[in-house]
Symmetry: C2
Subunit: 532 residues, 2 copies
């Protein structure tokens, strides 16, 4: 696999030249109907429109060259086959394979990473038995009642992805089944969730790969206390998703344990048991399979070398164009779907934790920008909030719109000749066009500069299958960008220093602990804020 | 009031010079205990620590000079007294006063804007009667039962602020009372909320100043349909918050109407009836009064001319230092409080809709950066998500931490010698220190550059009163920045173009509508995405 520095590619030079005079969307014919139709790619359930990006045919050609020169697809396929990509050459690093794609490579007779796929299949079989036993009454509470609620207890990747998917698909949940989430070490997070629950009919799914995550361990202890106080037996109410053989792999404490493996990073674990247990509980096993089928289908689309046939790759390259060549620091994810309300938060983690790096895979400081700041909220809500800045602010925000032709519930109302769903999609398209076109006005406060880049991704309906496609699309877009920037997108060394300092502060805060030597800075800050 | 261009201030020159060599937090003694103690301000319930910003005494002196030269406090006091600040000189504009502070200037005998304060008092009196009648059974449903749920139906400022405050304070809600929210025109938003409700005991609070907001009108119609289908009388279940004399001020359709006034912008309306009705329903009238008292007290703090005594002003100036002089495009709001989970989304609107502008109050294009991109999620969750980029990414993100010494519920657990609340606050302080200090390491992937700016805001406990203080603190920080950039922070002309284009698309999508002429671009885009 070619691991070269981003700055050494010929296509990067070419793109730098092209970026001096990027396509002007406000010019005469800058946004023609022909352009809109021609800058469109389709794969599986999705159409992707990018005529509203500031790209020309020359730019697309150079982006294709960049993809080829950097061997992005080649590296991606190597990843799927189990290459040890989570690594920094010459330095201590995790040295792991990156095999989240194996968690859904369970439909082909010949999976690319057979061992990991076999493990994924075994966990799915275990999940099916577990869900059946919840259904047929073999797995019930102390009083012989069925469980109705599952609380997922996890943080980061064990929370954001599963939560985003659950909210995305809760329209399809089975009658009488629901899922809640506890993540934060803030005791008010657990208190607020527990306050509303009937503990007797609640299962808690404790999710931590290492089994040592501070927040999750703490919340588990709080939950065990609450169950005991209610006269319930924690071992009947707790299941676990954790590393095989780790400290949480303990049948005495969890009546069922599902396994996750070190070759799947937390932020890529939504299609492993980390997401599948809660989704299966809420939606049923079939919906989990559909989600995985969608993701797996997109995993195959991402193997195409033609960027116009490979939406995740094209999205990655357009993002690089906006970030590295046009200089935009952020990217906004704007789903026109209330069900996707937390999908931007999931992508925020997946992208920023993957690509917020400053060291190459060879251990050298990067000399180019890596991952952007990712943020966003659903439309149309955002139109009444921060879109003012998108249209008329001094910061340019590349926007990625995501929408669907049909609603999930189908409970719609026609007002002034159009349905709510039509209003929703019309607004999405209108925003993309407005950002691109702008508008002149003799009142300067009512003029719009336009020429602001965006793209549109649209599918028929948000279902388990399209959700799987969408999830994998963004996962691979992130991976392709990391490959291109020559960074390790699969570690997270940047979280360590805060942990070390927090431990030092907690040593001082806990009575009778610490080694006696008190750091004067720690002492002062704790005193200044009134915590000691 | 001095309305000068930002670039003309002497202090701006001075700050540009100082920004060439900003304070280095990683230098020897760059983050001393003395510095931490000295760069601290306190007001009301809050301590504000900013030793972890890249400022020196010289920078603070220049920021004070900027505040004085630009007359920021003078303009603020004029605003509170009713100056017509929502205006662009020489061009058509809203030409309105900006009097959200009057909505809580109801405790002094001599309010600064007597007429607006009197109106606010009258609405509060109306609210008290309304809440009493819900309590004592004068206001009940068709079957004589008490109402238990209120659904707030509004979007933008009628949603984000009230929702953020409700989530912040729901720990204090009255037994059996809760609030839900419907905002999006996405029909799945309403469908999901309505699915869970007992309509018979639900009140719907329809909030729209103009009475013409598309999303809110559409959702109201959907709700009326659902009530009728359930055999319920909509006029018994709907209340309104709207402009006096507007299309929604109609006793035949809403059994109670509360008023909002055009001198309070949506994003500043959380302390008016827009927020007070739902909060009063959930928490009781007294909690609303405490919220207003907190906000009003901060409104007075913001009148101080000494920047070290005026936290909102100091925050505004530090933000300007980071944005205009150090060049950071975004600011992250990071509350270490799950209850504040949606406060960043509220501030995202309040800030970006206020200051995402490119035209001065004199109608000239700005020649400097205005409002930054505001985003954020609660800690410790974010630590397991996007903090990787904050610590080791190539984008620098100024961070604003917000925390509390005590939890709301007081339901805590001690694990390894410290409580969850201690872990929460220790992590917050540790993150601020880690961003500032960095750490050298011979493994480049484990090295932290440090020198990344942040600040800490901390209070005892998140209560209605401290929430009011915090809300007003950020409102005024935003206003001070807008005054300094010489922009109109109180209009939102940038939302218009999208509306116009959406209407054009909907004309084409609705059968038998439109004027017959079809815009070829609109036609193509609709066809390309399969919507016609």
């Amino acid at each position: 696999m070619p691991f070269h520095d981003f700055s050494t590619y010929r296509a990067v030079d070419r793109l730098s030249q092209l970026a001096r005079n990027p396509h002007d969307l406000t010019a005469a014919n800058g946004l023609s109907p022909q352009r809109m139709s021609s800058f469109k790619s389709s794969a599986l359930g999705f159409d992707f429109l990018y005529g509203t990006q500031r790209v020309s045919d020359e730019v697309l050609t150079a982006l294709q060259e960049l993809a080829d020169e950097a061997g992005l697809v080649e590296t991606f396929i190597a990843m799927k086959k189990g290459a040890v990509l989570n690594r920094i050459e010459g330095y201590a690093s995790e040295n792991r394979q990156v095999l989240h794609t194996a968690s859904r490579d369970v439909f082909d007779a010949q999976p690319l990473a057979p061992e990991a796929a076999a493990k994924a299949k075994a966990e799915l079989a275990k999940l099916q038995v577990f869900l059946d036993s919840l259904e047929d009454g073999r797995l019930v509470n102390e009083r012989g009642e069925l469980f109705t609620t599952m609380v997922q207890v996890g943080i980061g990747g064990s929370d954001l992805g599963p939560r985003a998917l659950y909210l995305a698909l809760q329209a399809y949940r089975r009658p009488g089944r629901s899922v809640r989430f506890i993540a934060n070490v803030d005791p008010d997070d657990a208190a607020e969730v527990l306050r509303e629950l009937d503990l007797a009919t609640t299962l808690f799914n404790i999710v931590s790969k290492s089994g040592t995550t501070l927040e999750t361990r703490t919340n588990e202890q709080l939950i065990r206390g609450a169950l005991q106080q209610a006269g319930l037996d924690p071992s009947r109410h707790l299941v676990a998703v954790t590393g095989e053989g780790g400290p949480m792999d303990d049948p005495a404490r969890y009546h069922t344990s599902f396994y996750m493996y070190d070759y799947i990073g937390g932020r890529y674990s939504a299609t492993s048991m980390v997401g599948a247990v809660a989704l299966g509980f809420a939606l049923g096993y079939e919906a989990v399979i559909e989600l995985l089928q969608g993701a797996q289908a997109m995993d195959c689309v991402a193997e195409q070398t033609d960027i116009r046939a490979n939406i995740p790759l094209l999205m990655a390259l357009l993002g690089i164009w906006n970030h590295n060549f046009l200089g935009h620091a952020t990217v906004a994810i704007l789903p026109y779907s209330q069900a996707l309300s937390r999908f931007p938060a999931h992508l925020q983690q997946c992208d920023m934790e993957s690509n917020g790096k400053s060291v190459t895979r060879a251990g050298h400081p990067v000399q180019w920008q890596t991952g952007p700041i990712v943020w966003g909220e659903p439309g149309t809500n955002g139109q009444h909030a921060f879109y003012q800045l998108l249209h008329q602010g001094t910061e340019i925000v590349p926007a990625e719109f995501i929408g669907f032709r049909s609603s999930q519930y189908g409970a719609d109302v026609e007002v002034e000749g159009t349905s709510s769903q039509q209003k929703l999609t019309a607004n999405m398209l209108a925003q993309s066009l407005a950002l691109a076109m702008g508008r002149e006005d003799r009142n300067p406060a009512r003029a719009f500069p336009g020429n602001r880049p965006s793209s549109i991704l649209i599918a028929d309906r948000l279902t388990p299958r399209t959700m799987g496609e969408l999830l994998a699309m963004y996962e691979h877009r992130i991976a392709f960008q990391g490959f291109c920037w020559n960074i390790n997108s699969f570690d997270q060394e940047g979280v360590q220093l805060g942990k070390v300092l927090a431990a030092r502060l907690l040593d001082r805060m806990s009575a009778g602990r610490g080694n006696g030597e008190v750091d004067p800075l720690v002492e002062t800050v704790l005193r200044d804020v009134g915590l000691v």
